[in-house]
């Protein structure tokens, strides 16, 4: 069993992980204002995606669409861009994750 840290967007359907952090320093966002990041993170956290929370990816919409999550007993849809910045910890067997 190994522990991996990866963005939520990389979880496959049916996989679960525990949120570690909401990563604001992603490359695409590097030259944007600080204030924007605050609001962005706040929004995700207000919807229940706080560090330590378990999330399960139920399914993903095609063409890099949003992901459906099961979190805190409710169902959320979250866009790909946002899912890319949520870091989660996943425990998996080495054979399953070759990358």
């Amino acid at each position: 069993m190994v522990t991996l840290e990866l963005p939520l967007s990389r979880l496959r359907d049916g996989e679960s992980g525990v949120i570690i952090s909401i990563d604001m320093a992603s490359r695409r966002d590097a030259n944007q204002h600080h204030r924007r990041r605050w609001g962005f993170r706040k929004r995700l956290e207000d919807m229940g995606l706080t560090p330590g929370t378990k999330v399960t990816v139920v399914k993903s919409a095609p063409f890099h669409g949003p992901k459906e999550l099961q979190v805190r007993g409710s169902r959320l849809a979250i866009g790909r861009g946002m899912a890319e910045r949520i870091m989660v910890r996943v425990e998996s067997w080495p054979s399953e994750e070759s990358s």
Partner: protein, 647 residues
């Protein structure tokens, strides 16, 4: 006899059945308007109960009380500053944890509070049993279980509120955070108690630690020294938890909500997968989801426009049928012409748009929204909408705009932030509506060729994507992606949907009709005064010089402001023929350019009315002026290109 007038506010997450409770409470005594200075809908109503006159204010459905959206800001300001006598927090018992997160924030606002534990039937179906007595004890807030559509618990709720108001002192005691945070909150709130801010000191302290911008700037104006203390305390907390202070506080709040939820509820999942779950899977599936969506949307579209076209035609026939009667009574003098052409025709134009199209549109929108299907469509279409600077939720208004821009503009309020709403509304006004299609197909399609008509649509699509992207990049504020709850499917409450439709329609009529009538009046007046000829002359540098069109098109474009199909009808009238192919100087190139300009140049007067209502006059004016200028520029460029390429 009214003993006293009291105000009760309804607060809660989106889709918890708040509006159903609101409708049960207020019946037909409600009013839909906007929050002062904001373009966010405000619904209020009045009822009489046990000698009290009670005003009910329905606050927007939100998930938190931070400054993410205008709705959140409005709600917290309303509760803290307007101080309603009581707040009813409607919560969805089938998603208890998320709902309690919001309840905890209401408790922090130190307002008299009661919880309506709604949708108990839905919870039961999901195998969730909630001990409401226990919830009451743990929260320290009175709890009344309700099933809004069946009116269960509504009377008890009101009864309880009245008895609590008569007893006085219903402010719940605050939620306690972890010791290391609590200690710092107390330190900070003792510093804040002397400050003159209309919020509870403890609440300000928490918000400052959460780095709430709005509160920060308010405190800075009064006492900026406090902020350095805030920074110091926040850093201490961050040192302990290794997360930003705002994250720590939000996490703790959710922890508390989760603990309470686990303590009071028992979940025995049903053994069989219920129908609504299977429906959810079907409608979000990568193949069947899209199939169902296309079918459903076609059906909605057909329903709206079959009904719309039929009723619109009928109304037109009936209303214009009154013309001979009008003439025989008032004669055909100048005043009578002005009254008919300037005022009554405006009313007719408004009526034939508002009633036939808006009525079914609102109905469909509420059904889609309340049932939960709208969020599934947003889920499926999110990626495409991102390409035009929007996200999934904007799909419905953009699609409906192909029929009529007016309901589409009004539908843009499902977007969360001001910024998103502005981009969506802007994009919507660029979508060719049914009337624009009449011009495109009737002129270019019939006289130039179907492929050229198609080209016009493609050009429009490209423009939409381009301008949407530009608006997305250029507008200030925070770009946001899609994040939404997909609540369980349920059957919409018929009466509530009907009432919502009716009151929204009434509100639109009040707002847009004066503008429509005024616009019609001005154009008719100009016509009667014989100014059309000089105006045509004045416009000729643009129409003839730049766009290469015959001079008469100037007038038709002016009339097109009223309704876009008028550009074509007027053109036929002025040219004296509807066989445009025979008109000299109006060849294929001119037809194409004319249709292009008509497609882009201005939202019609009813759409401007809708823009005004949704965005305020300044933004409505900017969009209108921009689109005129844009259409002229694009038209001129297209003219020159076509001269080179030829048709």
């Amino acid at each position: 006899m009214a003993k006293r007038r009291i105000i009760i506010a309804l607060a809660g997450n989106a889709n918890v059945g708040k509006s159903v409770i609101f409708n049960h409470l207020t019946g037909m005594h409600q009013h839909i308007g906007n929050w002062p200075g904001k373009t966010i809908e405000k619904a209020d109503g009045t009822l009489h109960f046990k000698g009290y006159t009670i005003d009910i204010v329905d606050l927007p459905g939100i998930y938190s009380l931070s400054t993410f959206s205008i709705e959140e800001l409005i709600s917290r300001e309303y509760i803290a500053i307007e101080k309603p006598d009581f707040v009813i927090n409607v919560i969805d018992s089938s998603v208890l944890e998320r709902n309690l997160f919001f309840t905890l924030q209401l408790i922090e606002l130190e307002t008299p509070l009661i919880v309506a534990l709604n949708q108990m039937d839905m919870a039961k179906k999901k195998g969730i049993q909630i001990d409401h007595k226990k919830l009451e004890d743990v929260l320290g807030v009175p709890v009344v279980p309700t099933i809004a559509p069946n009116q269960v618990g509504i009377y008890e709720l009101l009864d309880k509120v009245i008895s609590l108001i008569e007893k006085g002192d219903s402010i719940p005691s605050p939620v306690k955070y972890g010791e290391e945070i609590e200690e710092r909150i107390e330190k900070l709130s003792s510093l804040l108690e002397k400050l003159d801010i209309p919020y509870p000191a403890r609440w300000i302290a928490i918000k400052l630690l959460e780095r709430d911008e709005q509160i920060e700037s308010r405190v800075r104006q009064i006492d900026s020294k406090v902020l350095s203390k805030v920074k110091e305390l926040a850093q201490e907390i961050e040192g302990i938890h290794k997360h930003s202070c705002s994250t720590v506080i939000t996490s703790e709040r959710y922890e508390i909500a989760g603990c309470i939820a686990r303590e009071v509820q028992e979940i025995v999942p049903p053994s069989k997968l219920p129908l609504r779950e299977r429906l959810h899977t079907l409608t979000t599936h990568r193949v069947s989801g899209y199939l169902v969506m296309v079918l459903a949307l076609l059906l909605v579209f057909l329903a709206i426009f079959t009904f719309g076209d039929y009723t619109s035609g009928l109304l037109n026939g009936v209303l214009y049928g009154l013309k001979p009667l009008f003439d025989s009574v008032f004669g055909v003098g100048i005043v009578a012409t002005l009254v008919w052409g300037g005022i009554l025709e405006g009313l007719i134009a408004g009526t034939t748009i508002a009633l036939p199209y808006l009525l079914p549109f609102y109905l469909m929108q509420y059904i889609l929204e309340d049932s939960g299907y709208l969020s599934r469509i947003a889920f499926l279409m999110d990626n495409l909408m991102h390409k035009m600077g929007l996200h999934g939720k904007a799909f419905i208004p953009v699609m409906l705009a192909c029929g009529c821009n007016v309901p589409a503009c009004l539908g843009c309020r499902i977007m969360e932030t001001d910024r998103e709403r502005l981009i969506a509304t802007f994009v919507v006004t660029l979508v060719p509506c049914a009337a624009t299609s009449v011009v495109i197909l009737g002129l270019v399609g019939s006289f130039v060729g179907v492929q050229w008509a198609l080209l016009l649509y493609i050009i429009d699509l490209v423009i939409i994507f381009l301008l949407g992207r530009i608006a997305f990049k250029a507008l200030p504020g925070e770009p946001t992606g899609l994040i939404m709850e997909m609540h369980d499917y349920r059957i919409p409450h018929g009466k509530t949907v009907l009432k919502q439709t009716w009151f929204r329609l009434k509100e639109f009529i009040k707002m847009a009709f004066p503008l429509i009538v005024a616009g019609t009046f001005v154009i008719k007046l100009v016509d009667l005064l014989g100014w059309l000829q000089p105006i045509t002359y004045m416009l000729s540098p643009v129409t003839v010089g730049w766009l290469g069109l015959p001079a008469v098109t100037g007038i038709t474009l002016i009339f097109g402001v009223l309704r876009k199909e008028l550009t074509l009808i007027m053109l036929a009238t002025l040219l004296g023929t509807s066989d445009f192919a025979t008109v000299p100087g109006f060849g294929p190139i001119q037809m194409f350019v004319f249709a292009l300009v008509a497609m882009l140049y201005i939202p019609c007067i009813s759409t401007i009315g809708a823009l005004l209502r949704e965005l305020g006059w300044r933004k409505a004016a900017v969009i209108t002026v921009f689109e005129i200028a844009f259409a002229i520029v694009v038209g001129g460029v297209a003219y020159r290109l076509l001269l080179l390429v030829g048709i």
